[in-house]
C-alpha cells in the first residue's frame, strides 16, 4: 500500500468509525428514552356520569401518546372499600362514545370516551376503579411490551 492509499484508507476508517460511534450513541439515547417512556403521558381516566343511575358507566381517558402502542390486554376492577367487594368490568361489552382508537396506536393527543355496562350484582355505593392495560409498543427498530395502570378512579353508583 503506497502512502496515498494509506492516507485515504485511514481517513475513510476515521469517518466510518465516527459515524458508527455517533449512530451507536444516538440509538442508545433513543432506546433509553423509549424504554423509560410511559404509554400515556399526563393521562388520567375518570367516570363522566357519576353518580351512575342507568346501566352504563361512561369513562374518559385524556392525555397524550408519544409512541405507537397497540393494546393487547386490558383488565379493570371496581372495589367497594366499605364492603370489601370487587366487581370485574366486561371489556367485551364495551362501546365507544367518542373515539375508536383506545385499542389503536395513533400518537399525539388522546381523548377517548367509552362506556361499559354496570357489572351484574353491583349495588349502590362508592367504588374505587383500577384499570390495568398491556401494550406492544414500537419505535423505529425498538419493540417493547409495556404496562400502564390507572387507579383510584372514583365511581359512584346511585
Amino acid at each position: 500500500m503506497n502512502n496515498k492509499s494509506y492516507i485515504l484508507v485511514k481517513a475513510a476508517t476515521n469517518i466510518i468509525s465516527g459515524l458508527s460511534m455517533a449512530t451507536l450513541i444516538i440509538l442508545g439515547v433513543l432506546y433509553i428514552g423509549f424504554n423509560n417512556a410511559f404509554v400515556f403521558n399526563n393521562a388520567g381516566i375518570a367516570v363522566t356520569n357519576n353518580p351512575v343511575t342507568g346501566g352504563q358507566i361512561n369513562f374518559i381517558l385524556e392525555g397524550s401518546r408519544e409512541h405507537k402502542c397497540v393494546l393487547t390486554r386490558v383488565h379493570s376492577d371496581a372495589y367497594d372499600d366499605a364492603t370489601g367487594e370487587s366487581y370485574q368490568f366486561d371489556f367485551a361489552r364495551k362501546i365507544y362514545i367518542r373515539s375508536d382508537d383506545y385499542l389503536g396506536s395513533d400518537t399525539g393527543v388522546v381523548d377517548h370516551q367509552w362506556a361499559m355496562p354496570v357489572p351484574d350484582g353491583m349495588g349502590p355505593g362508592v367504588y374505587r376503579v383500577t384499570l390495568y392495560s398491556e401494550f406492544d409498543c414500537t419505535y423505529l427498530l425498538f419493540k417493547k411490551r409495556k404496562i400502564q395502570m390507572f387507579d383510584n378512579i372514583s365511581l359512584i353508583i346511585g
Binding site: 485511514k10 476515521n14 468509525s17 458508527s20 451507536l24 442508545g28 432506546y31
Partner: protein, 104 residues
C-alpha cells in the same frame, strides 16, 4: 536512558493500538449487532447492555492509561528539562574558564 527509550517505544505502540481500536470497534460492533438483531440471535436489550458494558470498560481503561501515560511524560519532561539546565550551567562555566585562559 535506554529504559526511557524502550518505554517511549512502548507508549508509541500503545497509542497505535488505541488508534486501531477506536477506528475499528464502533463499526464492527454496530454491524455485528445489526446482523445479530436482524436474525433474532440476540435481543436489542441484550445488545444494548453489551454495548453499554463495553463502553464503560473502554472508558475506564482509557482513563487510567491516559493518567499513567501523562504522569510518565511529565516525569520524562522534568528530567529532560533538569538535564538541559545542567548542560547550560556547565557551558557557562566552560565559557568563563575559556575567557580567563584568553586573558592570561
Amino acid at each position: 536512558m535506554e529504559i526511557d527509550i524502550e518505554k517511549n517505544k512502548k507508549i508509541a505502540r500503545q497509542v497505535e493500538r488505541w488508534d486501531l481500536f477506536a477506528r475499528l470497534t464502533p463499526t464492527l460492533f454496530l454491524v455485528t449487532c445489526l446482523i445479530l438483531i436482524l436474525f433474532n440471535i440476540v435481543s436489542l436489550e441484550y445488545a444494548f447492555y453489551i454495548g453499554l458494558s463495553g463502553f464503560a470498560v473502554t472508558a475506564v481503561t482509557w482513563w487510567w492509561w491516559a493518567i499513567f501515560t501523562v504522569k510518565y511524560l511529565i516525569t520524562v519532561l522534568n528530567r529532560a528539562s533538569k538535564g538541559l539546565n545542567e548542560v547550560n550551567t556547565e557551558v557557562k562555566k566552560v565559557k568563563e574558564e575559556l575567557a580567563v585562559l584568553k586573558d592570561e
